[in-house]
């Protein structure tokens, strides 16, 4: 089972490296969105510091959303997804592998890039640490939940906007506790509870999201 998951991760990572532009696109979007806010609200340092956690988190959320169509759409269009449904390995293994590969090419780079954006918002070191920790725990959840949405909207009309509509409400808990962790660190308060909750969300979605994604994929390919 583990070997089959690793096999899928290898495949998707190879494909992603042949299309580095797609991966870079998401990161550029992340930076642009986060940079737009000060232009909209003014660059008063205290105000920026207060909104920094929320802005960086929302930008990461939107960037993750943007990258979701890469997960299944191409494989659906060329018939690869059909083959995955009748593979020798369980579909859940394939889905888990694809989700992990998605996180490695989206969530992980976002997490690593976030401190730079945090600096733009004058976040002090403890807040930056909380930012990286919360994103490290939260972005995999975004990939897992996003996979369900991506599978449900396969081949549907207006898929991109529909995907946003379906997935963003489900992202709210992650956003609340992710940005909350950074906000707490900013105020000098402990944020261990926030991170624990994010960890719980991660554990919960790791167990349940792949099943929902598999069900949705089978429905889409029926």
């Amino acid at each position: 089972m583990l070997a089959s998951i690793v096999g899928i991760i290898e495949r998707d990572l190879r494909l992603a490296f042949r299309r580095k532009g797609d991966v870079a696109q998401v990161l550029v979007f992340f930076v642009i969105v986060a940079s737009l806010f000060p232009l909209g609200t003014g660059a008063e340092p205290n105000q920026l510091r207060a909104m920094g956690p929320g802005v960086v988190w929302v930008a990461a959320l939107l960037a993750a959303l943007l990258s979701l169509n890469r997960l299944f759409a191409a494989d659906y269009a060329d018939g690869s997804l059909e083959q995955m449904l009748i593979a020798a390995q369980p579909l859940a293994a394939t889905v888990t592998g694809k989700t992990i590969a998605h996180w490695l090419t989206t969530g992980l780079p976002l997490t690593l890039l976030a401190p730079l954006l945090g600096v733009q918002y004058d976040l002090p070191a403890p807040a930056l640490g909380a930012l990286v920790a919360s994103l490290a725990l939260g972005t995999p959840v975004l990939s897992l939940i996003g996979a369900v949405g991506a599978a449900l909207t396969l081949g549907a009309r207006g898929a991109a906007v529909l995907l946003a509509l379906l997935v963003l409400p489900l992202y709210v808990p992650v956003l609340v506790f992710g940005a909350g962790a950074v906000g707490a660190a900013l105020a000098g308060l402990p944020h261990g509870a926030h991170l624990s909750l994010l960890g719980a969300f991660l554990a919960f979605s790791t167990v349940f999201a792949p099943w929902a994604t598999c069900a949705a994929l089978r429905i889409a390919l029926d």
Binding site: V148, A156, L165, L170, V172, P173, F177, G180, A212, I219
Partner: protein, 256 residues
Amino acid sequence: MSTNELELGERASRGEWWLRYAAPQAFFPLASRLIPYFGTLAVVFALAGLYLGFFVAPTDFQQGDAYRIIFLHVPAAWMSMFLYVVMALWGALGFVLNTRLSGMMASAIAPTGALFTFVALWSGALWGKPTWGTWWVWDARLTSELILLFLYVGFIALKASIDDPRRADRAGAVLALVGVINVPIIYFSVQWWNTLHQGASVSLSKSPSMATTMLWGMLLMALAAWMYSIAVCLARVRLIIREREQEMAWMRELGG
């Protein structure tokens, strides 16, 4: 596989008579007969609830008469959440038993659920304006209702975007189930976020302490909303059954 409906039909003829209503054609006349009863009950409960709410319940010391909007706001909020769970249950039933009527019921419930969410939102705004001076308050309940509205709209939009009605039913069922698991988590997150950022002062959840008449008024209005929902959903499912008439043709061909 619609063979399951044929199997249910066989079981129905062998004694489990209620199962014959799993077939849309059999459910249609039943729904038609039930609608007037639920409609009447809805009107009766609504009149009773409104009477209690607007004439019997005492004027609140702090909020004056404006607070009476909660007789609309709270039942609407309760129904919006209740209907989402019911919708998810119908979806799950359709998924497990592979019956078309379950998917049709879920589709019938969604617009009514969205309506109640919408009513909860604007009645909340109407309450907020005289009480707090603003049309919108980022209170835990209102924010949760807003997200619930997005969940309903997402469900309706997903079903609308898939051409094949049976696939749409099944995709909707998956979405509704994912949503129903998330609704408590979302509610909990929003509650937590609200207490952290807003503090205790600005909160529509802080209703005036409940006099018994107020509680009865809200319960009666909630019952009225429930009866109304059943009546409207039955009426809507009849329309859906008619719309999906074409599916029946091939099912009859298969069974015959």
